[in-house]
């Protein structure tokens, strides 16, 4: 509150506030407020006009009452009147009231806007500032609409005061944040960039904030800011700390501005110009040098400001990723911080190092700090810092130090916080896999992992071990042995039992020679754990038993005995019971040969992206290692054009360090492997706990009669019981079936994409939409899809209406548009998400925004998934977005037409087609169709009046294609001849195909 002290102070207000504060109870306070409100009302109602001072005073009181939490429904008019006052205090109170109290739909908004406009156009900088502050504080859409043009004008006007420029820049920034679409980008943008050269540092700071936001959106427009920013930065960095007077903060020159400039530079790749680049490098070096200097002050503000600039500089260095010396220096600097006493600094250092670790230049430098980081992991008190340490260890890990790091992480795991255990487990699993030199080490590590933190070992981790063991022949024996030994511990984690069951079931024979691990001992060992396990594990163990029957005929009797026991055959759990019954029958009636075929060893898994990695990515939010890696990868390709070196995804690139991809590349695809019959893969899967899916998937493959006889009912049953299996209801090829493993395993089965690939795409009504924009696209008993679309130039908007024809709800309704290669580069389709529930009889509208980037042939596909009753419906419809939709008709005279026609005489540019008429050859209908097709129908161009001639231009984002067409009907023969000439051959062909279908 301004000047409540003396002279201009509002005594009445001060008294009122002190009265309120002295109230003993809420009731007393309300009474006092009521009294004051009545007083103000009578004053406002009074016939004699109030002077500015009392108006200000009462408005202030109202504001105070409002801020106490009472409703104020009058006084707005008085506040608006204050805006036109010439006194600063009165105007200020008016603006204060307006920005706090007036909502956007008020009737007064016009008056307010008017007052603001007046102030903006006044010459008084104080008033202009007040008005700008009000716009920024309210920041509503209406404000943005009203002043989007004025604020930039003020910002770049030559005669604007510095303080006003500052406010204008920040006001524009705020408007840009709330309603970016309303801010026109115009010639002022280039002049904004030049504000970086302004004398006044405040203006520069404000402008930099604005430019950062704008540059993030359209970097090209602000490219010039780079050189200016570098120049400004170097001036700041090289200035003595006393040069900048007001802008020196605890001996640091303009820290905020420096940070902002460095941020701005992070929007762009390293400057091309060598001079600028050199200057920037110099700046960064100076900043790094300054960090080495002894602090000029012991105050924490000094070091905070200095470090802020330093960290921003480091992140710029990391962003550029092009100066090895700088990267190494940055890394060394961070290394010093690792042992700093400030927890925040340690945290930031670890975080920055994580990103540094993924740069090829500094990776080695980062690695030198491994001891410190491990120490931090062990001794750090703050859990968030420990978490960063884990991230960094993960990031700096490579083949040379993998063993050490994995060992350290494993040992830390025993004492780690519960919140980060699962993540550490995943990371250990990934590192162990990625940098494993020997498989024995890998298997040992994972088994250790399960032993130490069994509860936190997610499904993906142990799936992965099994995938690797199965894919790799030479580790199988060792794995079986190790697992067998591990299982002998009196208390095993359930995950270990799962791995053990699976591996012994597959490869138990490899260690059966040793009398200490004879088949019977193996079986008894597994069975001793059976009763302690949950149902899925038991199911897995049952599968392992039946595999034992195949592997070791000598224990067949024992196992049959177990399967036959009441606890199995009459188990309350359907899955267990069914397995027991089926396996028992299988073992009783099938011959050894059939058993051997059915219970064949699992085929190797085709390599995919490690499901563990996917899980880690899913689990972690922003700012984590995996994300960092992703963004880095992206950035690298953007900026340097080089790919990342440390990307952990094993499938993207056969990195030499990844033994897994090595071995998998070496492993032949499953179909090429010597297999007795393709159908023998029937029981390859049942060891997995998710076998229902496996069953369902496999049952689709060609089956032997035996399998159909014995277990096809069960597979159906299981398939029905599982929605994901039904979803995927595609007939996967036999080779495909095995490759589904990862998908089947990954916990949240990606239903939609799976379904997409499989559901037949419906295109029956597609051709109808070539010449019209509205109508019914698709209809069945449940659903009707209607379309309404409009196109302008290269943009289109499509309204899709989903009508529920039933009386029950559609649940989990989702509709998405898929553009396959190469369409996704040619057409942008933006889908607004639709409501997941469609009530019976109701209609749901979805809006698609379409942007044509270049000419295209295919049409996008609309995928619709929903649950109706118990079943999942899956519909794919081709969306009638065709190239001709982006036509703009062109009217032209006869001679123009023929002149252009001649210009497009290249044989590639012309496409001609002669075809038989499918419909009656009505002239009017034909005309309507040509107009509907999008071209202009040109009369009197062709000498033969029965011919049709059209012209138009196809608009895409990148190119525009002119198009001329000529249609010559031959009524006797019921034939048409269609000739199309466009500047692009592919366009001609596509248009010809589309149009010829119409007649």
């Amino acid at each position: 509150m301004p000047a409540v002290s003396k002279g201009d102070g509002m005594r009445g207000l001060a008294v009122f506030i002190s009265d309120i504060r002295n109230c003993k109870s809420k009731e007393a306070e309300i009474k006092r407020i009521n009294k004051e409100l009545a007083n103000i009302r009578s004053k406002f109602k009074g016939d004699k006009a109030l002077d500015g001072y009392s108006k200000k005073k009462y408005v202030c009181k109202l504001l105070f009452i409002f801020l106490l939490g009472h409703d104020i429904d009058f006084g707005h008019m008085e506040a608006v009147n204050l805006l036109s006052s010439n006194k600063y205090t009165e105007k200020q109170i008016g603006y204060l009231f307006i920005s706090v109290l007036v909502n956007s739909n008020s009737d007064l908004i016009r008056l307010i806007n008017n007052a603001i406009k007046n102030d903006l156009s006044s010459r008084n900088p104080t008033f202009m500032n007040l008005a700008l502050h009000c716009i920024a504080n309210v920041g509503s859409r209406e404000m943005a609409e009203a002043f989007a043009a004025d604020v930039p004008r003020i910002l770049v006007a030559g005669d604007t005061m510095d303080s006003v420029k500052q406010s204008a820049a920040l006001c524009l920034l705020r408007l840009n944040r709330t309603s970016p679409d309303l801010i026109p980008m115009g010639e002022w943008t280039s002049r904004v960039v030049h504000l970086l050269n302004d004398q006044h540092l405040g203006v520069v700071t404000a402008a930099t904030s604005l430019i950062i936001t704008l540059a993030q959106k359209n970097p090209d427009d602000f490219k010039t800011s780079v050189s200016l920013a570098v120049a400004r930065l170097s001036r700041i960095v090289t200035s003595a700390s006393t040069d900048l007077q007001d802008y020196t903060y605890y001996f640091v020159a303009a820290p905020w501005l420096s940070v902002k400039l460095l941020r701005l530079l992070q929007c762009y790749p390293p400057p091309e110009d060598a001079a600028i680049r050199g200057r920037l490098t110099e700046c960064l070096e100076t900043i790094l040098n300054k960090a080495q200097e002894p602090p000029k002050s012991k105050k924490v503000q000094h070091s905070n400001a200095k470090n802020a600039v330093l960290f921003e500089a480091i992140s710029l260095i990391i962003h550029h990723d092009s100066e090895p010396t700088l990267l190494v220096r940055a890394c060394n600097q961070l290394g010093q911080f690792l042992q700093h006493r400030e927890t925040n600094l340690r945290y930031l250092a670890l975080e920055s190092m994580c990103t540094l670790a993924s740069s090829e230049f500094s990776h080695e430098a980062v690695k030198t700090h491994i001891e410190t980081v491990i120490n931090a992991l062990k001794t750090e008190r703050d859990v968030s810092v420990r978490q960063r340490a884990v991230d960094l260890l993960y990031a700096m890990c490579d083949r040379s130090n993998a063993k050490q790091i994995v060992a350290e992480m494993l040992s830390y795991l025993e004492t780690a916080d519960y919140s980060i255990r699962e993540e550490i487990v995943l990371k250990v699993a990934i590192l162990a896999e990625k940098y494993a030199v020997e498989y024995t080490w890998y298997v040992d590590t994972i088994l250790n992992l399960i032993r130490i933190a069994g509860d936190y070992v997610s499904e993906e981790v142990w799936y992965r071990v099994i995938q690797i063991v199965i894919n790799r022949d030479d580790v199988q024996g060792y794995a079986a042995k190790t697992v067998f030994e591990a299982l002998q511990a009196p208390a095993c984690h359930e995950n270990l039992v799962k791995v053990g069951g699976y591996i012994l079931g597959e490869f138990g024979n490899l260690i059966a020679g040793d009398p200490r691990s004879s088949p019977l001992i193996q079986f008894n060992l597994l069975h001793s754990k059976f009763h302690l396990c949950s149902v899925p594990t038991r199911a897995l163990l049952l599968s392992a038993y039946v595999k034992f029957i195949n592997l070791f005929p000598e224990v067949k009797g024992t196992i049959q005995e177990v399967l036959r026991s009441d606890s199995q055959l009459r188990n309350a759990d359907v899955e267990l019971q069914q397995r027991a019954v089926e396996y028992l029958r299988l073992s009783c009636i099938a011959s050894t040969d059939i058993l051997a075929t059915v219970l064949e060893e699992m085929p190797p898994f085709p390599e995919r992206e490690s499901s563990i990695l996917a899980k880690l990515k899913k689990k972690k939010g922003s700012g984590t290692v995996s994300d960092v890696e992703d963004t880095r990868k992206e950035r690298n390709t953007n900026v340097n054009g080089s790919t990342d070196h440390t990307t952990a995804t094993t499938n993207t690139k056969p990195s030499p360090s990844s033994f897994v991809s090595d071995l998998l590349a070496a492993a032949p695809p499953p179909t090429n492997r010597p297999r007795p019959v393709p159908s023998s893969s029937i029981l390859h899967m049942p060891l997995s706990p998710l076998s229902p899916q496996a069953y369902a998937v496999h049952s689709a493959a060609p089956l032997t009669p035996f399998y159909q006889v014995t277990s096809s009912p069960s597979s159906d049953l299981l398939g029905l019981g599982n929605s994901s299996a039904v979803n995927s209801g595609s007939p996967p090829a036999a080779s495909n079936a095995a490759s589904l493993l990862v998908d089947v395993f990954s916990e949240s089965l990606p239903v939609a994409p799976l379904g997409t690939a499989s559901a037949p795409i419906i295109e029956e009504n597609f051709s109808r939409f070539v010449c019209k924009n509205n109508g019914v696209l698709y209809e069945n008993q449940l659903l009707q899809i209607g379309l309404k679309s409009e196109f302008r130039q290269n943009l289109g908007r499509m309204y899709v209406f989903y009508g529920n024809k039933t009386s029950t709800q559609f649940l989990n309704f989702s509709a998405s548009v898929v553009c396959h290669e190469p369409l996704n580069a040619q057409l942008n389709v933006h889908t607004k998400t639709a409501d997941p529930v469609v009530d019976g009889g109701a209609q749901l509208q979805q809006i698609l925004n379409i942007e044509c980037l270049s000419d295209f042939v295919e049409a996008p596909v609309l995928n619709i998934n929903f649950r109706y009753g118990g079943s999942v419906q899956n519909i794919a419809v081709r969306l009638p977005v065709t190239l001709n939709k982006f036509f703009q008709p062109t009217e032209m005279m006869s001679q123009d037409f023929f002149q252009r026609w001649k210009q497009l005489s290249d044989p590639q540019q012309e496409v001609q087609k002669i075809f038989k008429a499918k419909h009656s050859m009505d002239t009017e209908i034909t005309k309507a169709k040509i107009i509907g097709f999008g071209t202009a129908l040109l009369d009197g161009v062709d000498p033969n009046p029965s011919n049709f001639v059209g012209a138009g231009v196809i608009h895409t984002k990148t190119i525009q294609v002119g198009c001329l067409l000529r249609l010559e009907p031959n009524t006797q023969a019921q034939m048409y001849r269609l000739t199309l000439r466009t500047s692009r051959g592919s366009v001609s062909q596509r248009l010809c195909d589309l149009l010829s279908e119409q007649f």
Binding site: K26, K31, K35, L37, A38, R41, K45, D73, F74
Partner: protein, 437 residues
């Protein structure tokens, strides 16, 4: 089983804190302050559950009394106790205010020790308490052992509310029938709801251990007598004056068994002041005043209000302390009032016109008219028109209750019913007496 009892001032500072059971922790004090006293929204419910702990509170002016428990207690019992606690404190040091509580905190702790034992309410009879908890301090040398043992035997004995050996030169009895009428009436004069809640308060200064019997025109008793009586006519005439009591509660001295069997109210009274019974009636209520409102909106900026009140009782009786409260809209900017009788004033702090009349005889009427100027607001909300409320005091019982007799027997001492001087008084007050407009 009350776990603890806290008394707070209006700021939420703890004045008295007494914990009876271990299950109530220290933080319970703060929990109540944070969640009830300082709550953002005003807490309306008198019972609040915070973290499996129940807080029962009553508010006396600016003082909060809160009983805390973790058990599933009888809430009615807890509130009865809290009210009793208020009565006891008032009897000891007058008005319950922060100052008084601070000045008497030793006394309050002493009282709390006495009237609650391990959370179970004990004797809360002021008369009895005053014999052994005094503000002066007990001078032990003056008090004989005999007296001490007498107190013990009295407090623990069958008639805990009266000690033996009381002697008065003049045996006197005061009986007040205090009633409050509650009414909600439609603008057209239709009674939407009405009830009377009454109390019979006695002050007895009687010697010895007298046995009293109290009779009133209770419908059940009269009807029974009418049936048992000789003529139907007698029953009819008395039935006219009898009242139907919906429910009643008695002081602990009343013999409930006798009331249940014979419906007669007999008791050995405590010494001094006490509340003999409480009752409630809903039928045949005499409404002392009728309010006739007339509200007219003239345009958007003016409101004309005319209110007529009519007194509806015997012309010989005088009503007192009449106050009519006419609510005004929230955007009132000025009020002009004209009234024939009494004084009327616009009270901005209460958003109401308050019209006060000192005295008014029965079967009269009076009128007030007011012009209210309104300030136009942006808000489209319509004024909710709260009801017009009224306060008054009349010298009769609006329920129609009549005291038929109050007999005193003292077989041991030599005074009879006729020797006792008895005073009876009726006071009818307004409770929530509202008329919609």
């Amino acid at each position: 089983m009350i776990g603890g009892l806290f008394i707070y001032n209006h700021k939420g500072e703890v004045l008295i804190s007494r914990v009876y059971r271990d299950d109530i922790g220290r933080n319970a004090v703060d929990a109540f302050r944070v969640n009830v006293i300082h709550a953002r929204q005003q807490v309306r419910s008198p019972v609040t559950n915070i973290a499996r702990t129940s807080f029962f509170h009553v508010k006396r002016s600016n003082i909060w009394l809160a009983a805390v428990t973790k058990q599933n207690v009888n809430a009615a019992m807890v509130f009865e106790f809290l009210y009793k606690m208020c009565d006891v404190m008032t009897a000891y040091f007058g008005k319950i205010s922060e100052e008084n509580i601070k000045n008497n905190f030793v006394l309050i702790y002493e009282l709390l020790d006495e009237i609650l034992d391990f959370g179970y309410p004990q004797n809360s009879e002021t008369g009895a308490l005053k014999t052994f908890i005094t503000q002066q301090g007990i001078k032990s040398q003056l008090q004989t052992k005999e007296e001490q043992s007498q107190i013990t035997s009295q407090v623990t004995g069958q008639i805990g509310w009266r000690r033996e050996g009381i002697k008065y030169r003049r045996n006197e009895l005061f009986l007040d029938v205090l009633e409050s009428v509650n009414l909600l009436m439609s603008p057209q004069g239709q009674v939407l709801s009405a009830h009377v809640s009454g109390r019979v308060v006695m002050k007895s200064y009687l010697s010895g251990m007298p046995e009293c019997k109290f009779g009133m025109n209770d419908k059940i008793v009269i009807d029974k007598q009418g049936k048992g009586g000789t003529t139907d006519e007698a029953g009819k005439s008395s039935g006219k004056q009898s009242i139907a009591i919906d429910d009643c509660t008695f002081h602990q001295c009343v013999r409930l068994s006798k009331f249940d069997s014979e419906r007669s109210i007999s008791f050995i009274p405590p010494d001094g002041e006490y509340e003999l019974m409480r009752y409630r009636t809903t039928k045949d209520i005499i409404l002392p005043f009728r309010v006739i409102p007339l509200v007219r909106e003239v345009g958007r900026t003016k409101l004309e209000v005319k209110v007529v009140i009519k007194s509806n009782f015997k012309p010989s009786l005088l009503a007192q302390k009449i106050e009519v409260r006419i609510p005004t809209p929230l955007n009132t900017s000025g009020v002009q009032v004209i009234c024939m009788k009494g004084k009327a004033k616009y009270k901005a702090s209460e958003n109401a016109i308050v019209w006060k009349i000192k005295r008014m005889a029965g079967m009269k009427e009076s009128q007030i008219s007011a012009e209210i100027e309104l300030l136009p607001t942006n808000d489209k909300k319509k004024w909710a028109r709260p009801p017009i409320s009224m306060n008054f005091e009349v010298p009769f019982a609006p329920s129609g209750l009549k005291v038929r007799y109050l007999k005193v027997f003292e077989p041991k001492l030599n005074y009879s019913d006729h020797d006792v001087i008895k005073w009876v008084r009726y006071i009818g007050r307004s409770g929530i007496y509202e008329t919609r407009c």
